[in-house]
Structures are given as C-alpha cells and as structure tokens.
C-alpha cells in the first residue's frame, strides 16, 4: 500500500489527468460510443420486440431504399431545415441591427426576444398547438385582422409544417439575434466612419461593411441551426407526432416511431445508421467551412 502511494506521488502528474478524465470518458464510452457501434451492428439484423437478433445482411438497407416514408421523412427534415435556418438568421440579424444602437428600453427588448430560447420545445409545442387551434386559437384571429382566411394549421397536410416552422422561428430568432448582436459589436466603428466620409448610404454600408464583417458569425449560426434543424424531435412529437399522414414526419422521429412504437429494432437501427452517416458528412462540411474561415 505504501509502495503504491509512494509511486503515485512520484508520478502523479502523469497519472492524475487520466483519473480526472475517467468519469467523463467512461460515460461517453458506455452511453455514446458503444451504443453507436451497436446500432450499426444491429442494423444488419432483423430484431423485433421478442426474440434474438437474426443476421440478415443488407436487407434492412435494401428495404430502406424502397421505403417511401423514409424518403418523405428525409425530405421533410430538409424542408424544415431549409426554411428555419435562413429565416431565423435573417430575422435575428434584422432584430440585432435594430437593437444595435442607443434606443430606449433596449435591455427589455433583448430579454423579450431571448426569453423563448429558454422555453422547452414541449411547452412551446403545446402553447403553439393552442395558438394554431382553427376555432379558438389566437393565430387565425390575428390573421383575420389582416383579412386572411382561417387555416386549419396542424390538421392540414400543407400547413402543418409551416406551423411548426413558425413555432421554431419564435424559439430560435432570439438565439440568432443575441449572437448577431455580439458579432455586430465587434465590427470597428472606424469602418462606418470611413464610409460616412465617402458618402455611403445605410444600404451600401450594410452590404459592403456589416455583412462581410459578420460572416464568421453567420457561418456559426448556420452551422448551429442546421444541427438544430436536423435533430428536431420534441416539437414535432408534441405538435403533430409526424402527422397528418406523414406530412411532418422527420427522420429522428421516424427512428423513434420504428423502434419504440412499432418495435422494429433492426430497421430502426438501419435508419439510425444512415442518419449517422449523414451527420458525419455534415460535420465534415462544417469543419471544412470552419477551417476556410479562420
């Protein structure tokens, strides 16, 4: 015992870091890395709720390619992401530009815009489901002020996804706004002063100075929001559960559906594996952009 203690004391600088990272690394291994490997393994098997996994080779993947719902859910994921990312970034930037000046009530505005960011997707999903209620909801009521006819938001195959996108904008604009505000404040005033001397108008200043100067911020926001978009689950689970039909089924929720509702573990793992590959590609692109940027 004494020997071990003595040995540790002598080598503690070499050993201590391993002890310090051990809890983290063990948890990552057991609940992240091993499960990912296991998911890939299971994806080559047929595995229902009962019984043992049975090796079936690429059968799950073959099935996947001809599974309409899989392609629809992939399409919906892309639709959702392609709509939410530019819109929340644009509105966030607009808000940040409006706020980036001496204006009364500035901190209060910022608090109001940011508050939805801390609200859970589940709560937001419920609030907006009720907002979108076709008969008693506030949303159609507000639209009617502008003479727009009532829409059956969440029960319409056309409008369910836009409704979820609107909810997402409420949740995410504040996040983009705050990040943009920080980005805008890092732009040196001298650039604008020089532009003023050259007689540039606001529009020119925005396109020639602001936008190029905050490009790193934009890249960061796009990366974060794309990740966010691809992983959307809670909102859809609470608002539509993928419906009506498959009009709002997204990939993450389709995996959940297959595994825990229908009990088809092998097939769900195959979708998970494909999705994992998609994420890896996205990450690679993201790293590429990040490197080009710096």
């Amino acid at each position: 015992m004494y020997l071990i203690k003595n040995w540790y004391k002598k080598n503690s600088i070499a050993i201590a870091p391993y002890i310090f990272i051990a809890p983290n690394v063990i948890l990552f291994l057991v609940f992240m890395i091993i499960p990912i490997i296991f998911t890939i393994y299971i994806s080559f098997h047929d595995w229902g709720i009962l019984g043992a996994p049975e090796f079936t080779g690429f059968q799950n993947f073959v099935k996947l390619f001809s599974d309409k719902v899989f392609w629809i859910s992939l399409g919906n994921t892309v639709y959702y992401t392609a709509a939410t990312v530019p819109l929340s970034a644009a509105f966030g930037l607009l808000g940040a530009i409006l706020l980036n000046r001496k204006i009364p009530l500035r901190p209060i505005f910022r608090t109001i815009f940011f508050a939805p960011v801390v609200v859970s997707m589940t709560a937001a999903g419920l609030i907006w489901t009720w907002m979108f209620n076709p008969h008693y909801g506030l949303f159609n009521e507000v639209l009617s002020i502008f003479g727009i006819e009532s829409v059956d938001w969440l029960t319409s195959t056309t409008w369910a996804m836009p409704a979820i996108i609107i909810t997402t904008l409420w949740l995410r604009i504040g996040y983009c706004l705050v990040i943009y505000l920080a980005g805008l404040q890092a732009v040196p005033d001298s650039l604008y002063e020089a532009a003023d001397i050259d007689g540039a108008n606001d529009w020119q200043k925005f396109w020639r100075i602001t936008l190029p100067m905050i490009k790193p911020t934009t890249v960061f926001i796009v990366v974060m929001e794309v990740i966010h978009g691809f992983m959307v689950f809670d909102l859809i689970y609470t608002m539509t559960n993928g419906g009506p039909g498959t009009s709002t089924t997204v990939i993450v929720q389709y995996i959940y559906q297959k595994a825990f509702v229908e009990g088809d573990m092998g097939y769900a793992s195959a979708i998970g594996t494909v999705f994992f590959l998609i994420i890896m590609v996205l990450t690679a692109i993201q790293l590429r952009i990040g490197r080009d940027d710096s």
Binding site: Y18, F31, L98, R110, D234, Y237
Partner: protein
C-alpha cells in the same frame, strides 16, 4: 494554500470575463456610432415594439387561457383577456395530472445532474487544458465528435444497457448516462486554458496534490464558467424530453416535459388545464433566466467562438 491570493485579476469583471476569452468585444454596450437622425431611431423603436408584441403574444395567450373558464375558451368569439380570473383552473389541472410530483422529479434530476455534470466536466476540462498525456487529442476528438449525435441514434442500445443496469424508471437512469456531455466539456477546456500556468506551478511547489490544485486553484478561478455551466445544464435537463421518454415508463417517475407531452394525448383534459400546466413548467426556467440572463447570453455567445 492562499486561495485568495491565487485568484486571478479578471475575477473582478465576471460579466465580461467569459466572452473575452473568445471574442474581444462582446459585452452589450451600446455602440458609440455616430448619432443618426432621430427619425431612423423612431422607426427602429416602433419596429422593435411590434416585434416584441409578436414575441410576447404566445406567453400572454398561455397566461390568458390559464385563467379563462372552459366555456369562454370554447366560445366562438376569441377574446384576449379572461372575463374573470379563474384560478381554480390550476387546482383542476393539478387534480387531472400529478404534476407537482413531476416537478419534484424534474427538480431532483436537474439539480443532481447539475452537480455531477459540472464537476466532471470541470475536472476533465482541467485535464484536457493543463496536462500533457498520451491519447489526449484522440480522446478529446472522440468526445467532441459526439456533439452532433442525437439521442435517437443511440437509444436502442442505451435502452438495453439501462435495462441491464436496472436503471429503467430510476433517477440514476435519468441522470447518469447524460452527465457527460461534450458542450460543457468543450467550454470548460477553453476557459481553463486561460488560467495562468504559474498559479498551478506555484501550488505544486507548495506541495499541493493534483486534485487539491483543482479544488483550491482552478475552481476559485473559474467561477463565471461554473455559473454558465450550472445554468445551461439546469436548462438543458429541465427542458429535455427525448431521454426521459426512453428511460421512464412509470407515471410516478415522469419528468415535467414528459408529463406535458403525455397530457395532450389524454382526451378528458381541457386546454384550460393544459395551459396552467404548461405555465407551471415554464415559470421555473423563466425565473432562472430573468435572474441570470447575463450568464445565459454569455454561454450562448461564448460557446460559439473559437480559440
């Protein structure tokens, strides 16, 4: 160990501290830009008021519905304000679902998770920031690569691992597997990199053990980081739905979000009961946000910046 003397000077400005590590100028001071016409400012102000109105509306609608009578809610003319404040909605809602129990579960899970997560993230962040050891880069990359992996990819194996451990429907199952997370570790490492090495070496010469250096030198110097991690972990755990959905099937172990998600599917429950429950679930996190807004914004802004 003179821990007061080892506190580095940036301690004095905790509010700008975290960001300064990542980006030179991120504190929210109004810019010193040349004053433009006040007409422009007026337009901006009106636009901001309009936007704020849109952002507050859903909160207001939730509050308003929480206090309306079921008849009023299901009447054809939608009204903004309740005719009379019907506080009994809350009593009825809590009768319909054991929501206080869910809040209790969420509090237990969130608070224990905060303690565990923040501790192990700071500890590992310290090791990754201040030691050289074999496999360091590999291990760090391995952890970071999980940043983008959603729970749904790992949930099937995790479900069976939890079953093996007998952690289904338990606090341990809700807390422990998600205690290690890449975002917090990444933030911790970045922040601890800026703690001067001289402090660590001085303590080492004084004969402090490695763990004692962590406790007495590192921790007192990273208070703003700890604040951000505490708040973020709390928010993340309080708001989480996907993981509890896998771990918990018994109603007595439901967390707040799980309770909320399930409540909608139950036919006998009215919107005048759902909205009070939603309100109760949102209030704790909104309060935390209002009191610690600074740290929320720092965490979000700081997390984005590279070294």
């Amino acid at each position: 160990m003179r821990s007061t003397a080892t506190t580095i000077s940036h301690e004095e400005h905790p509010e700008t501290n975290l960001q300064n590590n990542f980006q030179p100028k991120t504190n929210m001071k109004p810019s010193r830009r040349k004053r433009t016409f006040s007409a422009k400012k007026t337009i901006a102000f009106i636009a901001l008021c309009f936007m704020s109105l849109l952002f507050i509306m859903p909160f207001f609608w939730m509050l308003s519905t929480s206090l309306k009578s079921p008849e009023e809610v299901s009447s054809k003319d939608v009204s903004l304000f309740p005719k009379e404040l019907r506080w009994s909605n809350f009593v009825e809602a809590l009768d319909a679902a054991p929501f206080l129990g869910y809040i209790g579960n969420s509090l237990i899970v969130s608070i224990l998770a905060v303690v565990l997560t923040v501790f192990i993230n700071c500890l590992a962040g310290y090791a990754f920031a201040k030691y050289n050891f074999k496999g360091k880069n590999f291990l760090f990359l391995m952890v970071l690569s999980t940043l983008m992996i959603p729970v749904q990819i790992t949930m099937i194996p995790n479900f069976f691992i939890l079953k093996e451990l007998d952690w289904i429907n338990s606090y341990a199952g809700l807390i422990v597997p998600r205690a290690a997370e890449a975002f917090g570790l990444f933030l911790a490492r970045q922040y601890i990199l800026n703690v001067p090495n001289s402090l660590i070496e001085a303590a080492r010469i004084d004969g402090a053990s490695e763990f004692k250096i962590f406790l007495k030198v590192i921790l007192p110097n990273i208070k703003p980081l700890i604040a951000v991690l505490v708040i973020f972990t709390f928010m993340w755990r309080w708001n989480e739905l996907a993981w509890p959905l896998i771990v918990v099937s018994e109603k007595s172990m439901y967390t707040v979000q799980l309770g909320l998600a399930m409540v909608k599917g139950e036919h006998y429950i009215e919107w005048t009961q759902i909205m009070p429950l939603t309100l109760l679930s949102v209030i704790p996190i909104l309060l935390v946000f209002l009191f610690f807004q600074r740290y929320f914004i720092q965490g979000f802004v700081g997390s984005g910046m590279k070294e």
